[in-house]
Amino acid sequence: MSRFAHPDHSLFKTFSGDLTIVLRLLGRFKEEWDTSLVQWKQCLRVADAEGLFQIQHRWLSGLRTLGYEGLARRIATLQAELQETPSDLSNIQALEEELEEIQSDLSTEITSLQGLIQHQKE
């Protein structure tokens, strides 16, 4: 079962268990994530620290809201480092795999939620 459909999940509570809203928001976040991840990789390739900072900043609120607390905390720490030493992107590079995991996690969650909603309808 999708963890977004769990009664304790903040998003589930926020929308009083309305899974269609949760799914819509999750879908929109996934779209944003896919696009910005491509941009993030490009910025990393050309060592555009400012670009990386902006994209990562945009991710924070969504990640926190959706419950990806650990990753949000890590990014927040990296943001401070990025401002201090914009030339050192080694720690940022290490994020790539984790960010891609989020992408696949979101896909799994969306499929699971879709199935759940379909089941509820039937």
Partner: protein, 448 residues
């Protein structure tokens, strides 16, 4: 009354987070949400008067503090909640000092905190609106009510009303629909020295006997949570005035009960031992003449005379034609003031047109015609073509009701056709199959 929506602006450059906030706030009934990705777009739209603005601290075109200052400079009533990804207490304190209503950090609690803010603000705005409405009502109640007219019957009605206002008697105002019964009731209310007290109007139209009793006298019943007592208008009006419209539609039973209450100045609500004191002034109205009511209720004259010792008759506008110009100018001033226009008056042709109508809808109709004329008017003065009279029934009634000489009737007809055909004398002569010289002669005679 249609409630105004609670307008909220969400200023957020992260489209996903903007959508999340919108989806959260949308759960409130009657909210209108506008989303902006940049501060400038929000500032440009401030004329829409949002009640709440959620402002992202970091926007692509402007910093949060600058955006806050710009917004508050243009709209001091809007409440701005700054939403930020950074947990920086100094920034928060600084923004609050600069006029932010609240400061939220984007985290799991954002939605709940924002939810509470919106809930409290909606309550606050509703109270403000209610307060404004009550203030307007109070202002209206203490402003002198104009009851104007030079007609002898109107002067008489006014004089009786002023005297009746000082007495503790029941009053009946009769007159055709739209003749100013409610305005006269308000005039009495003001002259009774109770202008700041409630002025309530009750109409029994569309209500059955039970509903009428419930609305007027109130009710009491026992529920699981205790005694539920609902007070009726007789009590709600306090020391003010209660206008009971269409008294002729009230049953003998209701009129009898009102008579008893008027005598004792107290009553018990249905199914209750609770004693209600009655202190208000009662003004009854009807489009029926009281004589007509007596004719159809010959055995119950006692009810009429005990409840309504003072009777005032208002004439139809057709019976006070001399007041049409006076009233037209009065309504014109009112309407022009409402639209903040400078309209000095009516042309002679416009007045002639107004004078020729019979006004089955009385003052209400005249007011509607003038309001419409003000809207249609392109010039500084109201022209004849700005006066739009609905249907011809009025004209027909005028011709048949009034006793005029054949010459006067002929003149009316010719004028009617001249107006209809844009004063083309030859065309009118052809339509009426009379000579054009007879039209010219008629107009010449009128000028002399």
């Amino acid at each position: 009354m249609i409630e105004e929506p609670f307008r909220i602006f969400i200023v957020e450059d992260d489209p996903w987070y903007g959508e999340f906030l919108e989806a959260s706030i949308q759960l409130f009934p009657n909210v209108e949400i506008h989303r902006f990705g940049q501060a400038n777009a929000c500032i440009d739209a401030l004329s829409q008067n949002p009640s709440l603005i959620t402002l992202d601290y970091r926007l692509p075109d402007m910093g949060g503090k600058d955006a806050l200052n710009f917004i508050l400079e243009k709209n001091q009533t809007a409440k701005v909640v700054v939403v930020s990804a950074q947990e920086d207490i100094e920034t928060a304190v600084d923004l609050l000092k600069h006029g932010a209503y609240d400061y939220l950090v984007k985290n799991e609690q954002t939605r709940d905190r924002l939810w509470n803010i919106v809930k409290n603000l909606i309550k606050e705005v509703k109270l403000e609106q209610e307060n404004r409405r009550l203030k307007e009502q109070l202002l209206q109640s203490v402003q002198p009510v104009p009851f104007i007219g030079n007609d002898a019957n109107i002067k008489r009605a006014k004089s009786i009303a002023e005297k009746a206002a000082k007495r503790d008697s029941g009053i009946l105002i009769c007159g055709p629909s739209g003749s100013g019964k409610k305005t006269l009731a308000r005039y009495i209310h003001q002259h009774a020295g109770i202008a700041t007290q409630p002025f309530l109007i009750f109409s029994p139209i569309g209500l059955n006997e039970d509903q009428i009793e419930k609305v007027l006298f109130g009710s009491e019943h026992i529920s699981s949570t205790g005694i539920q007592r609902e007070t009726g208008l007789l009590v709600q009006v306090g020391k003010g005035s209660l206008v009971i419209e269409h008294f002729d539609r009230l049953s003998h039973a209701v009129l009898e009960r009102l008579t008893q209450i008027k005598r004792s100045r107290h009553f018990y609500a249905k199914g209750s031992n609770y004693k209600f004191e009655v202190k208000g002034k009662w003004i009854f109205t009807s489009h029926l003449n009281s004589d007509l009511w007596l004719k159809s209720n010959p055995d119950r004259a006692d009810l009429l005379f005990s409840l309504m010792e003072i009777r005032i008759e208002l004439p139809a506008l057709l019976q006070r034609k001399e007041d049409i110009v006076l009233l037209s100018n009065f309504f014109l001033q009112q309407s022009a003031a409402q639209g903040q226009l400078n309209l000095p008056g009516l042309t002679k042709k416009a007045i002639d047109k107004l004078m020729r109508h019979s006004y089955p809808g009385n003052l209400k109709e005249l007011k509607a015609i003038i309001d419409m004329a003000v809207v249609l008017s392109k010039n500084q003065e109201i022209q004849a073509e700005d006066i739009v009279i609905q249907g011809l029934n009025g004209q027909e009634r005028l011709w048949f009701n009034e006793e005029k000489s054949m010459d006067e009737y002929q003149n009316e007809i010719v004028h009617f056709f001249l107006e209809k055909y844009d004063h083309k004398v030859i065309l009118v002569a052809d339509k009426l199959q009379i000579s054009k010289s007879s039209i010219y002669n008629m107009l010449k005679r009128e000028r002399e």
